[in-house]
């Protein structure tokens, strides 16, 4: 009888204590995510990061030199996309992640360029590897890494930047020039630094290609009436409306454009037109708008075998399609870290940096490779060569990938009143 009691106790101990002991053996790898969580580029990144972490943890975690370690995500609101919030607040958020939450790695933001550039010194000071995945489009980030590699080698960016994005737009416009004879563009941008710079960049690039930029209008944040500019564009015979705005009110621009039946095709970088809910929000008036989602996979597309797998997993977990810029890259960054840590067999910064620099695998939006000097993801129009962009057009309520040609699933459609 005694033997039976001891045996039963032994079984209970094994059943209840052994799993705890196994998990308690290794402490989790903490990934800090500084994000502007009240904004699209923050909440979609957060969802992407959490989805990847869940998948990795379900599969057993990260194999660090034979020991399985789970991922723990610590998200902090940087509020850096809110008007009037100083850069210092975002830096405090990053520092809090490092010092209080004991983050081993940083993934995501800060989201605004100014804050991300300022955070580089902080990351360098604490020797923390960061993969920037959303919001920051400035080429100054990668340039800074190349200019002072020793100091900023901890910083990586797996999302695109302004020069390749503009290259994508120009290729698309040149194609429209050849096939449709378009040669007049009208630029409308928001009165914020990145949009003004984007507008100026496009104005220069178009002029060099013999396009006529008939005017460029800069709108204050919060504008809901674009009638004067739109009427003007119609009078001047613009065939392309190039837009660069990250305010939600810009959806009104497309409603007015559609109501006026202007003979121009809208395209650009427009936050309001990225989300799946845009169609319903504009009552379908945003149809034909061409939007750059920066990276592939931020909308359903068949770029690599992993793209739709990611889209379906995202839909299952969050109940809607990936919403916009920052989703696929944030998801991918967690897998990039996992791959690098497993190959480095440690979480020690220098070894993981070397592993990230030599990384080469097929991800959600193409081949994932970092440039060794700039730590910028290598961009390409072929997913077998590098990371491809997510250029979509709204067609019958869906976001259809229309560029680059190798992964395009549809052709550019013109509004019926343009034909």
């Amino acid at each position: 009888m005694k033997k039976l009691i001891y045996f039963s106790i032994g079984i209970i101990v094994v059943l209840f204590c052994a799993p705890i002991a196994t998990f308690a053996q290794e402490k989790p790898i903490v990934i800090g995510a500084p994000l502007a969580t009240a904004f699209l580029y923050g909440w979609d990144a957060e969802r992407g990061i959490k989805l990847a972490a869940d998948e990795i943890n379900t599969a057993g975690g990260v194999n660090v030199a034979g020991k399985k370690r789970l991922l723990k995500i610590e998200v902090i609101d940087t509020r850096d996309l809110e008007p009037g919030v100083p850069v210092a607040d975002a830096l405090l958020a990053v520092e809090k992640l490092i010092l209080e939450k004991k983050a081993d790695f940083i993934v995501g933001g800060p989201v605004r360029s100014e804050a991300a550039l300022a955070a580089m010194d902080l990351l360098s000071k604490h020797k923390k590897i960061s993969i920037l995945t959303t919001g920051v489009l400035t080429p100054a980030y990668s340039k800074r890494i190349a200019e002072n590699y020793g100091k900023y080698k901890y910083c990586f960016r797996n999302s695109s930047e302004v020069p390749p994005m503009m290259g994508d737009f120009m290729a698309l416009l040149e194609d429209l020039h050849k096939t449709k004879g378009f040669n007049k563009a009208y630029i409308m941008v928001q009165d914020v630094a990145h949009a003004r710079a984007g507008g100026e960049y496009m104005k220069k690039a178009l002029s060099e290609k013999k396009w006529e930029v008939v005017d460029m209008k800069i709108y204050p944040t919060g504008t809901t009436d674009y009638s004067q500019g739109l009427i003007d564009s119609g009078k001047k015979g613009a065939q392309i409306l190039f837009l660069w705005m990250d305010m939600p009110e810009s959806a009104a621009l497309l409603q007015q454009w559609s109501n006026m039946k202007l003979k121009s095709l809208p395209m650009g970088f427009m936050n309001a037109a990225e989300q799946p809910g845009f169609w319903k929000a504009t009552g379908g008036k945003g149809e034909y708008m061409i939007v750059n989602l920066v990276n592939g996979g931020n909308a359903p597309a068949k770029i690599t075998p992993w793209t739709m797998k990611f889209v379906e997993a995202y839909k299952k977990k969050w109940g809607l399609e990936p919403e916009g810029y920052g989703t696929s890259s944030s998801y991918m960054a967690v897998y990039q870290l996992k791959d690098a840590i497993e190959r480095a067999k440690t979480t020690e910064s220098d070894a993981v940096i070397a592993a990230l620099e030599s990384q080469d695998f097929m991800g959600v939006y193409g081949r994932m490779r970092f440039d060794k000097k700039t730590h910028q993801i290598i961009h390409s129009w072929d997913p077998k060569e590098g990371a491809v962009t997510g250029m979509i057009q709204w067609q019958a309520g869906k976001r259809v990938q229309i560029f680059p040609p190798k992964v395009a699933e549809g052709k550019i459609l013109l509004p019926p009143w343009m034909k």
Partner: protein, 301 residues
Amino acid sequence: MDEIVKEEIEGNVEIIIYGIINSIILSLMALGFTLVYSIARVPNFAHGALYITTGYITWILLNKLTGFPYPLAIAIAICVTAVIGALIYRFILIRVRGMEISEIIATYAIGLAILEGLRWGGLRGGTFTLPPFISGSVQLFGVSVDYQRLLIVGIGIVTFACLYLFTHFNRVGLALRGIAQDERAAMMLGIDSDMTAIVSLAIGSGLAGFAAILLLPLGNIIVEVGYNVLIFAIAVCVIGGLGSWGGTILASFIIGFAQILTEAFLSTHYQMVVALFAIIITLLIKPSGIFGKQKELEERV
């Protein structure tokens, strides 16, 4: 030559049409704020928050309850906003009545709490919109104008007329005017000052909601719009003279046309500057505003 003349005429018609639309929009934004100040002498800095609240309630009714009728959603949202306005006075402002700074702080804090509460509660992103009453556009003297904007002009004018009739021929409206003109004398005649203030807050908040229902289909329901509406309402009221309805309408036309002219002849990104510049000019030349009755600068908000 004829082409050039035609283009110039079209350009002028454009400015006139969109100038009128913009002016009516501004006056609708400011009407509730002016009404509350003219009667209760309370600067309602929660005005923008109440504006957005109405839009959000309507959106919830339309999108979360399948098949909910749009007119009923509008009516419920405006009523709820009016009740919120009345409750704000009954439970908060009544305690600080007459202390201008406290009134400003209290109403601004309430507005801030509502707006940031909505953001925290999920009002984020660009997908919250209200459908226009009538979709599409029409050519008016060669200028394309959408039906919603034309409706705004029509309903705006009717609203001004109704408010005039209400305050000149209705018992409650006359009581409101009585309090606005001379509070002590009105109280001696048996008009309850606090009850009048509650009614004015309710009507003012309802007007903010009414403006929201008309104007939000032109854009999105977002928290930032609440702050912008408050800024424009204050700008219009300061220039027109705090508490003056005639001044509010006149100031709306001044700012409305100034913005359109700035866009046409100067640059689009000075639109906001125009409103703020007009405030500075008004404060320098006539601190009480165009039709303002307050003479002391200290009395001003």
